[in-house]
Symmetry: C2
């Protein structure tokens, strides 16, 4: 099981970035995202995607991060540009239950201590979304990215346009939506 | 050479997400990011990172995207959740000069036509930052993520804290910044 814990979310400023964190977690195979700040609008945004595109993904906001980290039974992996090299850490975490911690701009020192590993996806400043995606992509099975989530809408690969199947239509009526 | 072209940037709304796109492009080995909307503040933010952390990365805003795509000599790869599967496309693009196009919410139909390939990193809605990172990570050499960019500041992998070398200090004075 993989859960992503997002720290330091400020609802007004981080709305879009934290939404990206949550949707990336879902698309790359996490079961839940936990956000340390209460944010009902964020929950609604993410739940709306789950309703339309399927899967069992859950979002919880207003989570107490210290308790969440301390009570986690598997490995706690903190993504930070200051951490160890991804390649060095990957073999020790790839098959574990993971709590992946991603911060916003400033992460409390305590997080570095509580985590089992502090890992960098490159030692350059970039994006917690990018770091999360690459870590999860390196861990995932080959079919994770294209798993069937049995949603109301299914997108099929298309070399030149958009193919969206609406699975609520009767068989034979479900068709690619023209664009 | 890899250049990332960001479409549909709205300076107020997309400030942080486009900054993440630009910094991800830089960290994963692109030489430039082009943004279709003029945004001097965004340029300044990205240039400040380059000044501190090194490398030759450039940002250009206010780029005419149609002309940029049409005049590109290598492959044009458009990242979209509607596109072909990444695994299917990767062998044909991995060694080329790439213009990687990432949109904001709504991308003009014309982009799907102008691109050499429309490629998805999963057919689920998530994040153009995540998609960009995974595509570039799959293409990159093993050492790209930890390349030495010869900047004023160098971050070194640290299992439990932060090691930041200030290379402007005299030898012997450059040291890990305590946190």
């Amino acid at each position: 099981m993989i859960v992503v814990l997002r720290l330091g979310h400020r609802p007004s400023r981080d709305k879009r970035v934290t939404t990206h964190v949550a949707l990336t977690a879902r698309a790359f195979g996490a079961q839940e995202v936990w956000v340390s700040t209460k944010d009902a609008a964020l929950e609604k945004t993410v739940e709306s995607i789950v309703t339309r595109f399927g899967g069992e993904f859950a979002i919880k906001t207003g989570m107490k991060w210290r308790e969440a980290i301390r009570s986690w039974k598997g490995k706690v992996v903190h993504l930070t540009m200051y951490g160890e090299r991804l390649d060095d850490v990957l073999p020790s975490i790839a098959k574990e239950d993971l709590l992946i911690v991603v911060g916003a701009e400033k992460v409390p020192r305590e997080v570095y201590e509580l985590a089992d590993v502090n890992v960098s996806v490159g030692n350059q400043p970039h994006s917690e979304i990018a770091a999360l995606a690459v870590l999860m992509d390196r861990i995932a099975d080959d079919d994770t990215l294209y798993m069937n989530l049995d949603g109301r809408l299914t997108v099929l690969p298309n070399p030149r346009g958009k193919t969206v199947i609406d699975n609520t239509k009767e068989k034979g009526q479900g068709r690619a939506r023209p664009r």
